[in-house]
């Protein structure tokens, strides 16, 4: 068993009177491609915000390498994040967006940063877009640029929120290949929020499935195993893309 990179203990998430998930506990191990699944509104993206340290838990804890969630965003980030919309800074060019963490957190000469930016953009298939503004990119290109930015500091952990949503099948498949390469060849750990079944079965190594009604994790493990062998009708419906089975 490899070493846990993220440890979530009895985490309750939500806001004010609304609890989305109660007492969730799970670990994400080094080298995982870990997928957070669930129906709309169950708190998948919100869960990711807690894992990153953007939100303070209602109760429970998130630890990265033993660092508490509240301290994750202090100092140089140890992970990269791709938000659902890309969240590129609109006032900077694509190249400047990718270079931003390099210039902020390393002493690399500008030319070296530019070389890294060029390589990262090439890696995500966006070579030659350094001088474009984010508003000139399509939705899929923005996402890929956001992945390049997330990888700029060569983190061992990357969070991806709905990476393939809104992409054409070819681009989505290319993105899956990239995710597999990052994991397999560069040893990166990836945490993804998605409900793209093709992508889940292709790249996912382990997953948790969140359920809104029970406010809990209703399944965990290898997504293919869960698809084929789960006893829970909610899990079967999700993976077989069917309406909920009648009680």
């Amino acid at each position: 068993m490899s070493e846990p990179l993220i440890e979530v203990v009895d985490l309750t998430i939500g806001w004010d009177q609304t609890v989305l998930q109660k007492d969730a506990s799970f670990t994400i191990e080094r080298g995982d491609i870990f997928i957070i699944l669930g129906g709309s509104g169950c708190g998948k993206s919100t869960m990711m915000r807690y894992l990153i340290g953007l939100e303070k838990p209602l109760s429970g804890e998130v630890h990265h390498h033993g660092v508490a969630g509240q301290k994750l965003l202090q100092g140089r980030p140890e992970f990269g994040v791709m938000f659902q919309s890309g969240a590129l800074l609109g006032s900077l060019t694509v190249g400047e967006n990718v270079a931003l963490p390099l210039l902020s957190w390393t002493e690399l000469p500008v030319e070296a940063s530019e070389a890294i930016v060029e390589a990262k953009l090439r890696l995500v298939g966006l070579q030659g877009t350094e001088n474009k503004m984010p508003s000139e990119l399509s939705g899929g290109m923005k996402k890929r640029a956001a992945i390049a930015r997330a990888m700029a500091l060569e983190p061992e952990l990357i969070f991806l929120d709905e990476p393939s949503a809104g992409l054409d099948p070819v681009t989505a498949a290319e993105l899956d290949e990239l995710i597999l390469s990052l994991n397999d060849r560069l040893g990166m750990t990836l945490v993804m929020v998605t409900h793209d079944l093709d992508s889940i079965f292709k790249v996912g190594k382990r997953c948790i499935m969140l359920d809104r009604a029970s406010q809990s994790i209703i399944a965990r493990g290898d997504p293919r195993e869960l698809r084929d062998h789960s006893d829970d009708p909610r899990v079967r419906s999700f993976f077989k893309r069917q309406p909920p089975e009648s009680p």
Partner: protein, 388 residues
């Protein structure tokens, strides 16, 4: 084994985990990499590669032997790929050789095994190009403004025929935000303007024994000029900027497009209620501004010029005609139209993201202030020609 020249950075970074050696044979040079090449040591790696590049002769072959590399990450690979490209662009050749399967895969995903393409040189834009582009941008901006005006007139015609299509539910809340909420700041600013102006005038008037004329000065200048203008400037800063930012955000979030797809015309649904709200509240705010401006003058007259408030008010009654107040109110309606139309036009023309909203909001405020001064100047001349 060829040693790296002393002028180069140390091949093994202190506490570092990589080493570079250079070998030469009949085919050219080879750089042998050993150990772990990681982003954490990108800086010494970069400096070492740069030194090798500077020493390389033009058209020289310099292969990158990766057989001794135990681990290679993306950051280090990015620098190696850049080094290879630079050698190619100088007419030389460089290939990755001897890599293990794992390292070769990283070279592959970073396209280190692909042919190097020539870099496109960015063409510098000349002054004439920039001037031409700026002129075209102004023309396009004017076209947009005219198109907006045309669409607005058509929409207002539609509203007259079908008043319900103007989203009049928004009218009262907008009037509250732009009018009632602005009352304290409008009162304070205009009171201070009246006070300061009377105070500045009092010293000059006292020298000629014309203290009483402070009522004429304040009465006419506040009702005809300062009341409407200062009120419009406050409304422009508060509501004009808010309109532009609000509509700009709606535009970049595709909310305006969503309205269109629901059959709701943005001109009627978004612009008309804002325009009507300002046309109704700005004259009312101007009346309040006139009153407190005159009050500011009264305070100075009583405290610094030894006038009684009865004398001040009697003189005011003689000096200020209903036309003075009326002309200010007419101007304020036009000011309101200018603020609402320019702010909404700029907001709906927003493109890009947050930066676009900021740019259009700034443009809305600056253009509106310019328009207000122009309208004021035109009216002053127009009324003078009319003999009023």
């Amino acid at each position: 084994m060829t040693q790296i020249p002393a002028s180069l950075p140390p091949p093994s970074f202190a506490g570092g985990s990589f080493k570079i050696e250079q070998r030469s044979d009949a085919r050219g040079k080879t750089l042998l990499f050993h150990g772990r090449l990681t982003f954490a040591e990108a800086e010494p790696l970069w400096h070492a590669l740069r030194a090798y590049k500077q020493r390389a002769k033009k058209r020289e072959r310099m292969d990158l032997d990766m057989s001794g590399v135990e681990w290679l990450d993306g950051g280090a690979m990015a620098l190696l790929a850049h080094f290879r490209s630079e050698l190619y662009r100088r007419g030389g050749r460089a290939e990755f050789v001897g890599a293990s399967e794992a390292v070769q895969e990283i070279i592959r995903i970073y396209r280190g095994d692909q042919p190097v393409r020539a870099k496109k040189k960015k063409k510098a834009r000349g002054t004439l190009d920039q001037l031409g582009e700026a002129t075209l941008a102004i023309r396009s901006e004017l076209q947009q403004m005219l198109a907006f005006l045309g669409q607005l007139l058509v929409a207002l015609g539609g509203v007259l025929r079908q008043p319900k299509s103007a989203n009049l539910r928004e009218l009262l809340p907008t009037m509250e935000r732009t009018g009632a909420d602005a009352v304290p700041i409008v009162l304070l600013i205009n009171f201070l303007v009246g006070l300061v102006m009377a105070f500045q005038a009092s010293q000059q008037l006292a020298r000629f024994g014309a203290n009483i004329l402070v009522a004429d000065l304040i009465g006419i200048s506040v009702t005809r000029e300062l009341g409407p203008l200062m009120t419009a400037i406050v409304v422009c800063g508060r509501s004009g900027a808010a309109f532009a930012a609000e509509l700009g955000s709606m535009r970049v979030n595709e909310e305006v497009d969503a309205l269109r797809t629901m059959g709701l015309e943005p001109m009627r649904f978004l612009v008309a209620p804002r325009l009507f709200a300002l046309m109704l509240v700005v004259p009312l705010l101007t009346l309040l501004a006139d009153l407190v401006g005159i009050l500011g003058g009264l305070v100075v007259a009583v405290t610094s010029l030894d006038l009684t408030y009865v004398a001040y008010l009697n003189e005011l009654k003689k000096a200020v005609t209903p036309w003075d107040v009326g002309s200010g109110i007419i101007k304020s309606v036009l000011f309101a139209c200018a603020i609402a139309m320019i702010a909404c036009q700029q907001g709906l023309a927003t493109e890009g993201g947050a930066e676009g909203v900021g740019r259009r909001t700034t443009a809305a405020v600056v253009s509106t202030l310019f328009a207000l001064i122009m309208i004021d100047a035109l009216f002053t001349v127009f009324f003078r020609v009319l003999g009023r």
